[in-house]
Amino acid sequence: MRVPLSKIAHTRSGDKGDIANIGVIAWKPRYYPILLREVTPERVKAFFGEMVEGPVERFELPNLEALNLMLHRGLGGGGTISLRTDAQGKTYGAALLGMEIDIDERELTD
């Protein structure tokens, strides 16, 4: 079934120059493999569309059951150059919560 990412993870986002970074944290340790499978750089790039001009890079933190996503050229120039309201990507994490992922219902139940 298709559910929003918010079912299995929470996020926090910010900036490094023109890179938006999103930390994606599994609500439960056993959801971490679902993050690895579903939250791929390609899908995140497609989800954000023209907002993100460069590639999406993904790093894994198994000790925190979390991913770090770096959205290159994702902030319209970044810092003080960007003309966007959210020039620091503070709301990008919230946006990503709405990305739909594919899971088996059994993966959600204890």
Binding site: R12, K16, G17, N21, F47, R84, A95
Partner: protein
């Protein structure tokens, strides 16, 4: 064990936080972080206009307010409030709080050495774009190397009540008391890295104690009285993140994880002037109410290059807004965008970028915005950027006339014509460590 708190995550943070950290329970060190990426350029400008300025002006009155308690409790302050003028900052602190001993760390300012560095062949390419610094040489406003925790620890060793630096790595403020008290050396990579991870967690103040946190946010207790973070650090480098009893907010592993991931790059190589920390190496656990323990952090030797924060003049910008309502709110707002662009085009003005967004529809999430069927209200916001100040000034006259010459029902122009702002942009680069010599001075 020592207790280190952070009472300011940025210049402009909650003014009550440092006071409450002192009043609310035991504490050994109070760190205050004032410098964001472009703050140095703002301070450089202030110093050009008045040679006695160029530091975080909030800081001396804050110390004046808490000086008596600092002395009574024996709490030491470590702050990067010095900006581009730490000595003047120290003098202002002594004026506000006579009787305190103040030490400053100098040597991060490299504005006067840019040409020397370029001549030596240091290209100082922009870490993000790869462009050489020479391409913006004549527009540089400030240049500072990020210094590490060791010079700050050296300043604490003078017995100072207040240590003031200019540009330093944010987490170094928190690491410095550990080096000072536990006698860690430059090759204690794992311990240094553990201190850096603790510093990264608390450097944004309340953002690790329940602020800006998605974890059941509606039920985070009493954010009005949020407790700012404290790390209790053991001599072996392990730590517990907590807050004073009876304060609002919440400390748990999920909230701390959010902050650990905040504004980082490759988690295996978190670069600092003192070590490289591996954010994938350690264990995080809830060990009690509002107590999160971290252990097992691994580190690697410090990098040969220091990061530098350079700022430069990047032209001008302005943005204006108008509000439209149901019916056809979004269509009307889009018409404003179309007509404004056409009028600007007819004037033959040059802009590097014109950017339009619609609050209520897509202002923050853009192409990833959640769809809405029929908007009650939409605010259109148009921003422009140009190296030609006159073009930006002319833009600021173009939006308000649309209330009478555009689609029906325009409002929300109450603030009048938008103001034109200079863009001071950030240029991160690398410089060889050996070029940056720090020194500590006690200011009497």
């Amino acid at each position: 064990m020592i207790r280190i708190a952070n009472g300011q995550g940025f210049w402009g943070d909650w003014l009550e936080a440092p006071v409450r950290l002192l009043d609310g329970g035991p504490l050994d060190y109070l760190t205050l972080d004032y410098l964001a990426e472009v703050t140095m350029s703002i301070l450089q400008k202030a110093r050009q206009e008045d040679p006695s300025l160029g530091y975080a002006r909030d800081f001396p009155p804050m110390i004046g307010r808490i000086a008596k308690k600092l002395k009574e409790r024996g709490v030491k302050v470590v702050a990067n409030a010095g900006g581009v003028n730490p000595v003047s900052c120290a003098r202002a602190v002594l004026k506000a709080a006579p009787g305190l001993k103040v030490a400053v760390v100098l040597g991060d300012d490299m504005l006067g050495r840019i040409d020397e560095f370029l001549t030596k062949g240091y290209e100082m390419r922009n870490i993000d774009t790869g462009a050489p610094l020479a391409s913006i040489r004549d527009r540089i406003l400030s240049a500072n190397a990020y210094i590490g925790a060791f010079p700050l620890a050296e300043a604490l060793a003078t017995g100072a009540d207040v240590v003031i630096s200019g540009r330093c790595a944010d987490a170094a403020l928190v690491l410095a008391p550990m080096i000072h008290r536990f006698g860690w050396s430059a090759d204690d990579f794992d311990k240094l890295a553990s201190g850096i991870v603790a510093g990264h967690i608390i450097e944004c103040g309340g953002q690790c104690t329940g602020g800006n946190c998605q974890v059941d946010w509606q039920n985070i207790p009493d954010l009005a009285n949020i407790g700012y973070p404290i790390v209790e650090v053991e001599p072996d480098g392990t730590w517990v993140v907590t807050k004073h009893p009876g304060t609002g907010g919440r400390v748990d592993t999920h909230g701390v994880k959010e902050q650990l991931l905040y504004e980082i790059g490759d988690p295996r190589h978190y670069m600092t002037p003192d070590c490289v920390a591996d954010f994938t190496s350690f264990k995080l656990e809830d060990i009690g109410p509002d107590r999160v323990r971290g252990s097992g952090v691994r580190g690697a030797p410090r990098p040969p290059m220091l990061k530098a924060s350079i700022s430069y003049d990047a032209g001008w910008k302005a943005s204006g807004t108008l509000v439209y309502t149901w019916p056809q709110a979004l269509e009307k707002a889009r018409a404003i965008d179309r007509i404004t662009r056409q009028r600007l085009d007819q004037l033959g003005l040059h802009f590097d970028e014109i950017h339009s967004e619609y609050f209520g529809f897509n202002a923050c999430h853009g192409s990833a915005a959640h769809p809405v069927a029929d908007h009650a209200e939409v605010q259109v916001r148009i921003g422009v950027r140009s190296s030609d100040k006159r073009a930006v000034e002319r833009f600021t006259r173009e939006m308000i006339p649309l209330v009478l010459t555009g689609p029906p029902g325009g409002t929300g122009y109450g603030e009048g014509k938008p103001s034109v702002k200079q863009i001071v942009a950030y240029w991160p680069a690398l410089v060889p460590r050996e070029e940056i010599q720090t020194r500590v001075e006690v200011v009497e």
